[in-house]
Symmetry: C2
């Protein structure tokens, strides 16, 4: 296996010049550069990643930490991040907490091995100790979703999202509006779930509408869990809401299926709105607040890379608010409760 030494020898230059020519840093004459390039390709030279990293301290490797690869939002954000990283020539090391199963080992061991140039932390909330630990490693970190104190973050205004979704329903004429929120475990998703819930409650209060405890549910973010909760919610016809705001599209999908299985027509008997912009929303006719997760992934990487490559004196705004968009489809409409059903 040819090393840079061999390349230098064949090109008739020093190892130092060969290194400069190949990395593009430092000044090298055109003639030398060509000689080196030619020698390298002739020998089929591939630079040793480890040697290069050891010597330069840079690994061209970004860690992405997220709670689930298996949820659409995260997978899509990951895809965006992956794109941006590939384009920049970086590798992506994936750390999937799988709930909280690997939280400790990731935070405690993996992230500290000094093998990453930067970390993207998605929907992750750190306690003081963890924040300190990760910052002590001296690695640039960018967060997505939920403020991480001391760390630049990309997020959407979850309160506003909740308010907007709820207001959409209210403006259609609904007064019996339920909310199916995501569970907010300590250290994960907390701000997101509670923000959207707060938006819901705000909007209801502003419209002078009652908040019923029975209409305020919590479930996991998956369609299956939401399905179960929704079936429960809709079981009692007398207490049935006419609209439901779900904290994610996957939950909304579960809710729609539950409603259909109970024989309720959407949107006539139940309006459903979600959040995310799930690709299946299109064929389901799901009204949603799109948050463009793919775009969040690429944007987060952009910011992270400026930190990684930056001179350190680039003063970035600590927080960046990402765009969302209400996409109205056929899962929401004015309430049209069939005869025989109780009115509001």
């Amino acid at each position: 296996m040819a090393g840079i030494r061999d390349v230098a020898r064949l090109a008739g230059v020093s190892q130092a010049t060969a290194s400069r020519a190949l990395s593009g840093k430092g000044s090298v004459s055109a003639r030398a550069r060509e000689a080196v390039t030619a020698a390298a390709s002739e020998l089929g030279f591939v630079m040793s990643y480890h040697a290069s990293s050891l010597a330069s301290g840079r690994s061209h490797n970004i860690g992405v930490v997220l709670p689930f690869v298996n949820r659409w939002y995260f997978a899509t954000l990951l895809e965006g991040a992956n794109s941006a990283l590939m384009d920049a020539g970086y590798d992506l090391t994936l750390y999937d907490f799988q709930g909280d199963r690997y939280r400790e080992s990731v935070l405690g061991d993996f992230l500290l091995r000094k093998r990453l140039d930067g970390v993207l932390a998605v929907s992750l909330q750190l306690n003081a100790h963890e924040t300190e630990q990760i910052l002590a490693a001296g690695i640039p970190v960018v967060g997505v979703g939920g403020p991480l104190p001391g760390i630049p973050t990309l997020r959407i205004d979850d309160v506003e999202v909740g308010r907007r979704a709820t207001n959409h329903l209210i403006s259609l004429g609904h007064s019996r509006v339920a909310h199916l929120g995501g569970e907010h475990e300590y250290g994960r998703n907390f701000e997101i779930s509670s923000g959207r819930r707060a938006g819901y409650e705000d909007a209801m209060a502003e419209a002078g509408l009652p908040l019923r405890a029975a209409w305020s549910l919590i479930s996991g973010y998956s369609a299956n869990e939401a399905y179960r909760e929704t079936k429960h919610l809709l079981a009692d016809a007398a207490e049935r809401p006419t609209a439901i705001f779900c904290a994610s599209d996957e939950m909304a999908i579960g809710a729609m299926l539950a409603a259909r299985d109970l024989g309720l027509r959407i949107p006539e008997e139940l309006s459903v709105i979600g959040v995310d912009g799930h690709e299946m929303g299109e064929i389901l006719g799901l009204t949603t607040i799109d948050q463009f997760p793919r775009n969040q992934g690429t944007r987060a990487v952009e910011r992270l890379l400026t930190l990684v490559q930056g001179d350190g004196d680039a003063v970035e705004p600590a927080d960046e608010l990402m765009e969302t968009r209400l996409v109205v489809r056929s899962s929401t409409s004015a309430p049209r409760i069939p005869a025989g059903q109780p009115g509001s």
Copy 2:
């Protein structure tokens, strides 16, 4: 930042002994080991990943190559692989082709940087040149899905899967059975799609049933694409099949939604069966051939790690057939075509 030198000095042993004590390789007395461990934790020593890799040639890092992170099957397989790798103390570097967008750069650049101990190639078909290239890098590779010549592979019997799914429908009394197959692009998924299609055709032929060109469709693996194809397929009532075998659960979901949107009841007017074991199948009542993708991921990692860690003389069987299971739910039943519809 403390180095192993400092640890050794504090523990009163040589650097060599400290290294052995920390890595567990070579023989070290209990006393020395304890001294080193204590010194290490006192200094908050974290080993330099790059230095270690450079010296040992081992990176404790596995690359996972797949065509989409964003499809349920792949995300779930990835989750399984991630689990197994975390448990073994390995990092996971993700290479998402995103269709074919990054195929070349992954295969040409990223994989060759000698920074991986092994590669897991999922649903990937390599041409001779690519195979040669990747094997020349001297990295152990394990494939999942579709045979890769010269590379140990994990797969399911796709022909058998197609046959079993189709026979399930036939045994329920269907004779008008359509197949919605995945697109098989060169280099990706080829064997999978064509295997399942072959199984379908076999089963139909064995049962003496006609194969109509109009009932043999191709679509992308996503629900959205399948939705469109299925709507097309079902548009003409006279030519309508009574059952449809979809090459993936996501496609089956699209098909179910298309049928519902056309006012067709499932399973009365259309039976649907998929492949994968998608978690949403439960709430959709989707009959499927479960292939336990999470398990495939962990098993693939197991095999890969034995190759990576192995003495090289472990003769593994080149191919391993993974288990599948028919899960019957409510999306399939005997055909019960309502009055007014044309019979078979």
